[in-house]
Symmetry: C2
Subunit: 453 residues, 2 copies
């Protein structure tokens, strides 16, 4: 009795100590991640030994094999591949861009990169006058008489005043995604897009475009934000032209794979957590989305390591081909449907390996309320924002099956410095930030597994 009273006394007077089972479990998850985490060394291998890994490339195949082996070595209960046919776009060996016949600059080379899925210019390139626009409306207003035979330069900058940089991105990215076909409507012969970045940088950002099926496919490149400023300064000089030469080509689809590792539960249901294994070819894909991949593997490793026995089967999923096709995400949902794998929830980390601030939610209001009731468990770890909607690209196709979707929400301030660029490299990832994200994901999986959704 006196011991019990003493115990209660301590509980009352030491509120900082973990009290509930959930608090203890989540503390154990974060301790494991921060003291003995393996996400950083996994990412080191994926980034530095394998590197950039566009779908269909030898590096993508190596990443499939590496992540399979990794999960086998960690002792996951079951590791398997899902076959996915993916597009096989190849950049070509050289890419050239040049401002030609500027009265003030003369001839000036600019760094360029072909947009993903774009056709090449062919040998000899194209050279044409430049029409600068900031919107599709402006393009329409100019019409065929002002655009035909010219290169359209899309130069609407990302809005720096948005606090979440993904909002700024969302406000500019249609220039990259649809600009080529929009310009082709009016007879343009090529497209130059201002890179999707908030800083003034000297390297271009790649990313995929989608050609409208019924319009001519014209070549499209990105230039750096710095060069976009320079080009904008001279674009109206009489006689100015732009030269571009790219050799990108879309080859036949090839066989690739999603990689799935499981910790087996007993309910017959599933919780999936993952990132996309493919990346762009110009960096090593450390933030986009090597981070999400290793965090997913790490989340399951942590739960296994601390001895948690899941009710549901937990899956770490490496989706293939998010960047220029989303075939892996679609295929995963297709298999889940066909095999009647009922998912309690699916979670994705694809916003970079930065400090985790919260989770985005795409689920019913009742489910959101349940997740938000766990907020006090996350707040001691800085994870506090459960207000935003959204899941993620690769888990999106599961929504049709009524699956509750969550996205890890890290800080977004630095993401578009690196996104789709040669600067997306391992050294830009901070070990503790990556680890905190993995732990937040593991904690969320634990709560969903234990309490359902």
């Amino acid at each position: 009795m006196r011991l019990l009273i003493l115990g209660i006394f301590f509980l009352l007077h030491l509120p900082a100590l973990p009290q509930s089972e959930d608090e203890k479990m989540i503390r154990a998850i974060f301790d494991e991640a921060l003291e003995s985490g393996q996400s950083y060394q996994m990412l080191d291998y994926l980034s530095n030994e394998i590197g950039g890994r566009l779908a269909g490339s030898p590096q993508a195949a190596a990443a499939v094999e590496w992540s399979r082996e990794q999960m086998v070595q960690l002792g996951f209960d079951n590791v398997f591949l899902q076959e996915v046919m993916v597009p096989h776009w190849v950049r070509g060996n050289t890419e050239t861009g040049r401002i030609v016949a500027s009265q003030t600059l003369g001839s000036k080379d600019v760094a360029v990169c072909a947009l993903g899925n774009s056709v090449g210019t062919g040998k000899g390139g194209i050279v044409a006058e430049v029409v600068m626009v900031k919107s599709f409306e402006e393009l329409e207003k100019l019409g065929r008489e002002n655009i035909e035979g010219k290169i359209v330069f899309f130069n609407r900058a990302m809005d720096p005043t948005k606090i979440n940089t993904f909002t700024s991105y969302g406000g500019a990215v249609n220039q990259r995604g649809s600009g080529a076909s929009e310009a082709a409507k009016y007879g343009a012969v090529g497209v130059v897009v201002r890179s999707m970045g908030l800083n003034l940088e000297d390297y271009p950002h790649t990313g995929s475009l989608r050609y409208a099926p019924d319009l001519p496919k014209i070549p499209a490149i990105a230039i750096s934000t710095m060069d976009a400023e320079i080009l904008a300064g001279v674009v109206n000089e009489p006689g100015l032209r732009f030269f571009m030469e790219t050799h990108s080509v879309m080859l036949d689809d090839v066989l690739s794979h999603n990689v799935v590792g499981e910790l087996k539960g007993t309910s017959g249901k599933y919780i999936a957590v993952g990132g996309h294994l493919d990346s762009w070819d110009n960096g090593d894909g450390a933030h986009d989305d090597g981070s999400g991949c290793v965090q997913a593997i790490e989340a399951l490793r942590i739960l296994k390591e601390i001895g948690y026995k899941p009710k549901n089967t937990l899956r770490a999923v490496m989706w293939m081909n998010e960047e220029n096709g989303l075939r892996g995400g679609r295929k995963y949902a297709e298999f889940a449907d066909k095999n009647k794998e009922v998912h309690v929830a699916a979670m994705e980390s694809d916003r970079g390996g930065f400090i985790p601030l919260g989770f985005t939610l795409q689920m019913s209001d009742e489910q959101k309320e349940k997740v938000r009731s766990w907020k006090p468990l996350f707040e001691p770890y800085g994870v506090h924002d459960f207000t935003r909607n959204g899941g993620g690209a690769d888990i999106g196709p599961l929504a049709q099956q009524g699956v509750a979707l969550l996205g890890l929400l890290p800080d977004s301030q630095r993401y578009f410095n690196y996104h789709h660029t040669p600067a997306d490299t391992f050294d830009k990832v901070e070990k503790r930030e990556l680890e905190l994200g993995a732990a937040a994901m593991a904690a969320m999986i634990y709560l969903i597994d234990k309490y359902g959704l």
Copy 2:
């Protein structure tokens, strides 16, 4: 009437638009910081043109003159210097550390840096056996018989499981601050301290020590976390010794200055906001605390630019000598006391130029409640944490005058990768993070100025 109803209709149906005067003002502050901010270019100059600027150095004098000029050029109403006598510690040209006569490593050089305020070893250095400890208790237990004539190696690592890394720092930094005198109690001839860092790095972290007045002053150096691991692995080998040679010296105090820029109010009272202008000599002091200095100047520039007329006189204060003496902070409080400058509040930014998450508060409970009532105004900008106690080192001396103190609270995950190291350089500062911090400070100053505390 119909127009009024229409107006109300829009207000009710567009909750995302700024509504209140305060919301509009804070939106204008953030827009100015993110669209036309000058903090990043100011920091570029301070870091790259002036560089490391320890109190008493020519660089510190240059930083005084630069910040004075900067605030004059920005059109502040009044810019002046406060005379401060500062300690003048000089590192010396060479610093050497070496593991000697290891059975496994042979002789191995390690990168070292003398701790600030430490005495040098003199020419020829010292060489001695090494005793490794992790606490002052362990040192006491070992006693003079095991320590006399030896070098004490303090190797207690920062705890990686603390989420706020300043807590980890607080749990380890007494080894650096007091280790030399604690070891001198038992006759040690020198001290080697494991750097205050969470990652395994190959560069040492400097920082100041304080010698106890009644004990011998013995030389003290830091080694990198990586070398601390290596030394720990061989420290018990028979015959192993450590060689250290430093030429640091404490010269006579010299005249330096705090720099103060004002936007004049009419109340006769003051609100001070600042950072410390001095920095360590091994980096360029971009995060510690160039960021805080330029954010303070920028906060006032923003308020002036958007046309805000303050009630109280707003001061941007560049304190001198925080790193190895705190003379500037003390002198500022002394002047405030002597000149009867009543301060409504004082705010400091000295935790790096990272993404702002909140403010620490050191004030009465009523005042805290008032500040916390403004939280909804900050949350759209990611600034959400008003739970922590604390002000800052340089504003600390104002507490005796009953001044309410606030500290900008940025994310802490990366700070101790750079703190007091050659890696604390301009390229480690992210433009948007710095700008968001300056805007958060400006917004807080605006609210305190308008509503009082």
